[in-house]
């Protein structure tokens, strides 16, 4: 009898545990009829002022409820793969030009038909053309831009420069002198997180776009060699940033966020090489409230931006390069695509653009001007307006659309920064990676 009871217990326990395990793997209820408001899910890693966006959208569209899910960037990329292949994923999701658009674009609904229906046949003319072109895949518009941004700038702390009677350098020779003075005062010059390949690439693009404007885009397209003399000169200039003391020691183990940005905001460094996306945190009162939460010292610098100094004396500094900072797409798996497109259009062509403008981001809709009423200092108004103007004449994009090539360039820049590779050898590896890319 005991044995029989034990056997029954074993059977029941095993079945219960197996059922529990299988239930955990199951897909749950599916296909429930929608009643009441439509519930949308919105995934992203840094959707700007998402709380305000949802508040305004829901007020205008009470029949639609939006839930935003925020991920750290790497987790986002990981979660999005299964998310977009199942009906449990997002209805609206954030993308970036380059890899994300290339890889996730095929899982998005092209926007042309919806945009033409909702915004009019001439819908594309209201967007910054670069904002649209970099979010296309196989001639289809798979996403719409959230806001525009560009790199090729250095932000500087005018309070520090004024304190030591220093000006903003236009080239490396001037910059080295400024840095020597700062070093003597125990202030770092260019805060830089060289552990991050993306910011190294931004700086390298600033250098090569000054030395040979636009040629890097030929190399990215496979029409020029990365071992050409201009690229070697730019890579040598990159090395010089580290060897000359413009970038202080230890940068190759530091991240741009938060390490370098914290150093800059806390008055420990006079410069940082970031793009226009850094304007809200450094030049607007609202943005600086958020930035203040990331540092312990009270932020009291006066921050402005300038072109990244030219590596060769006498050359022009780079023109800005960039495009859409990020954009939004509608998942092809979404069962609520009409509502999802309504939200997408609110974010990218409607009042969502005014939220971006109010926060100091440069809207992708060219008729919406970035707000300058929230600046910390009146001198920043002209700076912000100049940034918005520059975004209409970009020299090219920031992102390299081929992951193997962008990784190879990132590795090369890191190796040269650490002194483990010469500029020539590093660029040979980049060229080798470039040749293996199928374009």
């Amino acid at each position: 009898m005991y044995r029989s009871a034990m056997r029954r217990a074993a059977v029941l326990t095993a079945i219960a545990l197996a059922a529990a395990g299988l239930a955990g793997c199951g897909s749950g209820s599916k296909g429930q009829a929608q009643s009441g408001p439509v519930a949308l899910t919105w995934w992203g890693w840094n959707a700007f002022d998402n709380v305000q966006a949802i508040k305004e959208f829901e007020a205008a569209n009470p029949q639609i409820k939006v839930t935003y899910k925020q991920y750290a960037y790497n987790d986002y990329v990981t979660a999005l793969r299964p998310g977009l292949s199942s009906d449990k994923g997002p209805d609206v999701f954030q993308v970036q030009p380059g890899d994300l658009t290339t890889n996730f674009g095929p899982l998005a609904v092209p926007v042309e038909d919806h945009a033409a229906k909702d915004l009019g046949k001439d819908w594309a003319s209201s967007f910054n053309p670069d904002g649209l072109s970099q979010l296309q895949l196989d001639q289809k518009q798979v996403a719409l831009p959230a806001y525009m941004s560009a790199a090729g700038l250095v932000y500087y702390n005018k309070k520090i420069l004024d304190q030591y009677g220093l000006g903003v350098p236009a080239d490396f020779d001037q910059w080295k002198k400024v840095c020597a003075t700062l070093k003597a005062r125990n202030v770092k010059c260019l805060a830089h997180g060289a552990k991050d390949a993306w910011v190294n690439t931004d700086v390298y693009l600033s250098l090569i776009n000054s030395i040979a404007p636009g040629k890097v885009y030929d190399a990215i397209a496979g029409k020029a060699s990365w071992t050409d003399p201009e690229f070697v000169t730019a890579m040598s200039a990159w090395s010089e940033l580290f060897t000359s003391g413009i970038i202080p020691a230890g940068a190759t183990a530091a991240t741009e966020y938060p390490d370098a940005q914290t150093t800059f905001l806390e008055d420990k460094a006079a410069f940082i090489a970031l793009g226009t996306w850094n304007t809200p945190a450094t030049m607007t009162k609202t943005g600086q409230v958020d930035a203040q939460k990331t540092v312990t010292k009270k932020i009291d610098g006066l921050f402005l931006s300038a072109p990244f100094p030219a590596p060769v004396t006498g050359d022009q500094p780079t023109r800005l390069f960039g495009g859409p900072d990020n954009g939004y797409a509608v998942s092809a798996k979404s069962s609520k695509q009409d509502a999802a497109f309504k939200f997408l259009e609110f974010l990218t062509a409607g009042d969502g653009q005014k939220i971006q403008a109010a926060g100091g981001n440069i809207p992708a809709i060219t008729s919406v001007k970035v707000a300058t009423t929230d600046v910390i200092d009146p001198s920043q108004v002209a700076d912000i307006e100049r940034q918005q103007q520059s975004l209409t004449s970009l020299i090219g994009p920031r992102q390299i659309p081929y992951s193997d090539l962008s990784t190879a360039l990132g590795d090369a820049l890191s190796a040269v920064a650490a002194g483990t590779s010469s500029p020539e050898d590093a660029l040979k590896k980049v060229e080798s990676a470039s040749k293996s890319v199928s374009r």
Binding site: T13, A14, G21, L22, K195, A249, A253, A254, D411, A418
Partner: protein
Amino acid sequence: MATQAQPEIVVSTPPPESPGKGRRPLALSDYLWAMPALILVVGVIHAGIAANVFYSLFDWSGVGSPTDFVGGANYSKLLQDPVFWQASRNTLAFAVATVAIQLTLGLALAILVRTKVRLRGLLRTLVFVPVVLAPAVVATSFRILLTPDGGVNHLLQGLGLSGFDQAWLADPKTAFGAIILINVWQYTGYSFLIYDAAIGQIDRSVLEAARIDGATTWQLSRTVVAPMLRGSHLVLIVLGFVSSLKMFDLVFLTTGGGPGTTTQVLTGYIYRQVIAQFHAGYGAALSIVLVLAALVFSILQVRLSTSESR
């Protein structure tokens, strides 16, 4: 010398088997007891490995379904991939260095607490505390301590050793060594714990006999204690190598595999291929190589523990 009766070690041994007698045939319910564990192990781990084998045969970004079958191309590609070989060398060097240092220090500390009575409890706690800290906390703390103007360099300056200032994690000459030492700092307590427990199991009369024969502490440690801890050595070596194969968080959070790829390890390279470069098929092939390496150590561990128990 009178021998003292030792408590008998009771080992449960199965009754002698006789064909057809003493053992009932296994019923379905007996197998069902194992089902929850089987679902977990087979459903998650083994199915995951099988899926990786399948995906490794495709040129696949990890998005959507794999369609571009390439057979063994991913495996032949990794043989010619210099970063794979560098990551493999780094992983092996990391394993050898950390296992050797952690075992030596762990054993030395265990002998120390067994020979020095004062502050023994405090020493045990201090040595073991790092083991229970989250690697993310340890990595972040050391990343701050090891910056050029961080605590370690300040300490060196305070000791009059300014010439030894380094950008420890940023300099390719010191970065990998620094990561090894962080790992040693965190996990020596684990080796210490195993050795401390094992030394406690050694028959005191053996140690006393050696002492009576005039053995010094060094001789006692080297010729009596260390050989008697063979089982502990083997377990720690095998576990140390297996956990080195899995090393990811410490490298990812301190150097990210840089500068360049000088501190890259296999797991970090797999992560980079799959997440940053969208090469899930190639990443799966790299994962299978890692699984095979882990399998070698698993077989080794089973064999060694089997031979130990005989």
